[in-house]
Symmetry: C2
Subunit: 329 residues, 2 copies
């Protein structure tokens, strides 16, 4: 038994003859033998399971990518993901964390679906945790978030590069990191390009399609009319398309549009297809799992206060072109 265990677990210290080694491996393969993970976990006091606590998994296609990234990273270490969907309600979250604790998970990945700041639930204390798409207000645990500012910069720079100077921002009304970051990226890029910030070109509404429609109608009334719009997300961009159609503006000839989120169904389904900024969900899932693994194996507590910031690449499609005529201003 000992020898088999040593050989199958590649234990350095113990050595066995090459012949035995071969014989054990062959026999195991023939019998389809593998260690019983329950017994192994009991003995090792490690379950080799990671709890993935995911908020509102059913309302967005983002969750799948996070899970996929986390899983690919977990697979390399032979870790298994135990999934629990939770809600934003503190009571539900507490119950679900308790469930994962009882399950003896070695650590927890806590993912929100929209970049948020949150209070770390009490129940998590003592359990290695990494946040995904969220920041702990008290910075006690590591986390990973998208580079909202950089994403916005690329989006607006793409418009500037095409010659636009009158660029509107259709944004949302929630005071969340995404809203603040994307506005900051918008303003920075304008400034770098030597374009004066014009408050009348920034219109905020609810972050759904109807909000985008309303915001677009308003911002397109500005004079001179903007030749391009940067949108808080793809759904708002969808509303912008409708507003443009009603006003007789063709995209990208009369109006260039850039979105955010890269929701394929929307971005690819719109006509013309939407140039947008992708959120690094897969990468965040992967990063978080790798981080958790190092915490678990190196037993390395964190001095890292700030969350990691992952880039949001621009995805070029067909909704951006040069402005039709140059402004006179």
């Amino acid at each position: 038994m000992t020898t088999v265990s040593h050989i199958l677990n590649n234990v350095e210290s113990a050595r066995a003859s090459d012949e035995t080694r071969e014989r054990v491996k062959a026999t195991a393969a023939r019998l389809g033998y593998g260690p019983n993970r329950m017994a192994r976990s009991l003995r090792m006091q490690r379950s080799e399971m990671i709890g993935l606590l995911s908020e509102d998994i059913a309302t967005t296609p983002h969750a799948g990518r996070i899970i996929l990234g986390a899983q690919d990273a977990a697979r390399e270490e032979g870790l298994t993901i135990v999934l629990i969907n939770t809600t934003q309600s503190a009571a539900d979250t507490a119950r679900d964390i308790d469930a994962l604790r009882r399950q003896q998970v070695d650590g927890i990945l806590y993912a929100t679906m929209y970049h948020r700041e949150l209070e770390l639930p009490q129940q998590l204390s003592g359990l290695p945790t990494v946040l995904i798409d969220a920041e702990d207000r008290a910075s006690r645990v590591p986390g990973v978030v998208p580079d909202e500012i950089g994403g916005a910069r690329q989006a607006v720079q793409e418009l500037v590069d095409h010659g636009h100077r009158r660029i509107g921002f259709v944004t949302n009304v929630d005071d969340v990191p995404a809203t603040r970051g994307r506005l900051a990226g918008y303003r920075e890029t304008l400034e770098t390009a030597g374009i004066e910030f014009d408050e009348s070109l920034v219109v905020a509404r609810a972050s759904e399609t109807p909000g985008g429609y309303e915001a677009a109608l308003e911002v397109l009334r500005a004079t001179p009319r903007p030749t391009a719009l940067f949108c808080y997300n793809d759904r708002m961009a969808m509303g912008v398309y409708r507003a443009a159609a009603e006003l007789g503006l063709r995209i990208p000839d009369d109006l260039s549009v850039v979105g955010f989120d890269n929701q394929e169904i929307v971005a690819d389904g719109l006509f013309p297809s939407l140039t947008t900024v992708a959120l690094p969900h897969y990468e965040m899932g992967q990063w978080a799992m790798q981080r958790l693994i190092t915490i678990l194996t190196k037993d390395e507590r964190d001095e890292l206060a700030e969350p990691a910031v992952l880039p949001c690449p621009l995805v070029r499609r067909e909704s951006v072109g040069p402005p039709r005529r140059l402004e006179q201003d």
Copy 2:
């Protein structure tokens, strides 16, 4: 120890004094004591974990709903979900099933993202399995699928009820149960309504937005022009909207449209919002987990050959109205 175990597990046979019972529970609560699941699993030879094998989780928002349904059913039994995302590749699937087996899951839920017929992977044999959104060609394991025919019937009936008699079908080219079922529902409903089937009103293309656009352009050339279109899915319906706009047809005044899938982002984002048929992903996840639980607890092998068929409810929005003028035919 025995008494504590008995009390915490609600063992019928053994009895303890009410006072002891109280004392044990209070102490357990105070200490935050709960059975160690690894030890428990080892002793019971049941991990109380269910493997959820989900195909292409990252490409569709459907997966989240399935997971949610399965989880809600699992929670009632204290079962935990171990999630593995897999692909349609047989090699990947085999590897992932093996991983779940090694994890000692008590059973497996195998979910595909589109209603499919499949060969049951070898690796599953001997492990209680329930299929979600898929049918085993050899009918060896139970499964649950959406009522494609009934969904299509409701969609087309909705159009008939509004007075339409010239109803086109924008469908897709894949030979899958969804395609066949939705066509069958379309034909049945026409027949019941006494409307003759017209082959020129059924046009198939790829099941994406561009396919819907092309199909719509073609089917709308028919004379007399159809006053309503039933679409294979919401993405194709999105293409239909674009075709209608180009042809100067207003929805629903000049053309009524019904979709399939109820992808909220599309159906709610389109203008006017899209009346469509919802797929019962949550319910399928829930049903499958409940079925698996009865198999596990009642040790009841299946004589049920046919998969369960769950209803697809119509979701009314704003894309259906009466035809503008009656046909002369």
